[in-house]
Symmetry: C2
Subunit: 315 residues, 2 copies
């Protein structure tokens, strides 16, 4: 299936009354530091504290009443788990979330808070898969992959569409988002192609989990090995689907070091007085690293989420 | 001099193009937790990161060109220092700031960053006064008191006026702000009297620095003794001027413990994804402590500032 312009428009109509049209913030001091005019799309203020709500809700809502009754399954220790849990709750459905048994208590509590049923598994791919399959067999519930899913990608595409909706007020030269599994990156590429074709999409990735960068450069899908980064939302690998969209549509991928991520994150906290996750800070780190590219340009940055453990900050 | 309705309107006109009309945020999960409909006026997003910019800028701008040339003096280790420094810079004037020699480096750097000249003194009232007087004598600069000053109070009054400007969209039953020296509290009382007379003003104060509470109850000015609170912006005592406004205009003063402040602060960070100072969290702590008063009411809370040392968080 090809993702169409109309499918993004439809997704936006489908979810808009149930999510936040998040604010776009700018900061004089950030512009001064970066040399660019940056527009931060603040998905840290989104429901469940991250953009993942868009894709999960769109995917859930695209199911028939009969399927919705059966519930939804996913595996995630992060924002996608909360997103599927809340989306299911909103649709008066049931969510079954598979989480690694070493998941932080704060995330477990959040998912439970949305009324989801949690199944713990060992922290590896096989155990996750097996647990999901068992659950699906037992409950008949529908699996919602965090990114390898057209409905999810189309949902994430609504984020940048909201920026382009106020175009030409903000005529962006560049839009940046982080890349993990590639759901948001794919959505942003498609949305930009349809709604702001002059804007270039640049992806940003931690050096320590740079499968997207390597895949992009070598033009073949290379899964990540042993990712170790503070940007815990970006440790997953692209799928065939997201790889194909990214390799065609991204202008480039910039990788940044752990120190650069922490520096950018601290800057956002201190100068903008908002809380964002390490993953969020990766695009700003990319801008600060290659200032000459962005000098005096209008740059959109998607701040992807704000779910961070306050007891475990990197600064 | 009595502070008039017109003086607040004039102050707003005077400063509005040089400050932010800060956003008013609400949060479903905060409303659920508190039982009230809370509207947070986010002065943590104000220039210099705090409401103090309003009063300092209004006071500086009310001086003649000749006086502005001479510059401005104040003593403060906190947000007022930055506010006078930036206000002076904006007006192409000079700021002389007296700071205690144990002031945190981060605050010293911020004040220096705005081009102010810093004079260090011992950390006591006499030394502060003496240093200021010396500076005034030497430079001819004008002293701007952090709160015992009509122009400063009138400037702080513009904060709640911005809320009432969007009335009747938000018809507030209550407005809360913290009370330290009483500048913001006085401004809020006057602004409410003139622009939203049905709204009741409730002040919130740390138990460990409850001079305003005791003064209010005993109807006489009682200065604070040895305040020890995490809400470092609220350790000062009322002046005769602010006491008189507060005793006449406040509905009541609610005091809260250190634990209650920290709990409320963490809640704002985690649920709203914004950064606020401990002082900021005091009114929310007051609401959470006396939920029955605020149940289903429309409640405005002024989040006063967001300048916090990320290396030294209380949670």
């Amino acid at each position: 299936m090809e993702i169409t312009k109309q499918s993004i428009i439809n997704a936006q109509r489908r979810i808009k009354n149930l999510i936040h049209n998040t604010p776009i913030l700018s900061s004089e001091s950030m512009n001064k530091i970066s040399g660019a005019n940056i527009f931060f799309k603040c998905e840290n203020f989104q429901k469940i504290g991250a953009f993942k709500m868009r894709g999960a809700l769109n995917a859930v809502m695209l199911h028939s009443t009969k399927e919705i009754k059966k519930g939804f399954v996913t595996h995630s220790s992060g924002n996608h788990a909360q997103a599927v849990a809340l989306s299911s709750k909103i649709m008066k459905s049931k969510a079954y979330i598979v989480m690694p048994n070493n998941a932080p208590k704060i995330k477990i509590d959040a998912v439970k808070g949305y009324g989801a049923e949690i199944t713990f598994c060992a922290n590896n791919e096989n155990s996750r898969k097996e647990s999901c399959e068992k659950l699906i067999k037992k409950t008949g519930a529908n699996f919602i992959h965090p990114y390898d899913n057209d409905s999810v990608i189309v949902g994430q595409a609504t984020c940048s569409k909201e920026i382009y909706d106020i175009y030409p007020k903000i005529n962006l030269d560049y839009i940046l988002c982080p890349v993990g599994g590639g759901g948001l990156a794919s959505g942003t590429i498609l949305s930009t192609k349809f709604f702001s074709p002059k804007t270039k999409v640049i992806l940003a990735e931690p050096k320590n989990a740079s499968d997207a960068y390597r895949s992009f450069v070598e033009k073949k899908l290379i899964p990540v090995k042993d990712p170790k980064t503070i940007a815990d939302g970006l440790m997953t690998s692209l799928s065939e689907k997201t790889f194909n969209i990214i390799v065609k549509g991204a202008e480039k991928i910039i990788t940044v070091s752990e120190d650069e991520i922490i520096f950018a994150m601290k800057l956002i906290w201190e100068r903008m007085k908002i809380i964002c996750e390490p993953s969020c800070a990766v695009p700003l780190a990319a801008v600060l690293k290659t200032k000459e590219v962005f000098k005096n340009k209008n740059v959109g940055i998607i701040l992807t989420g704000g779910n961070v453990d306050l007891k475990n900050l990197p600064f």
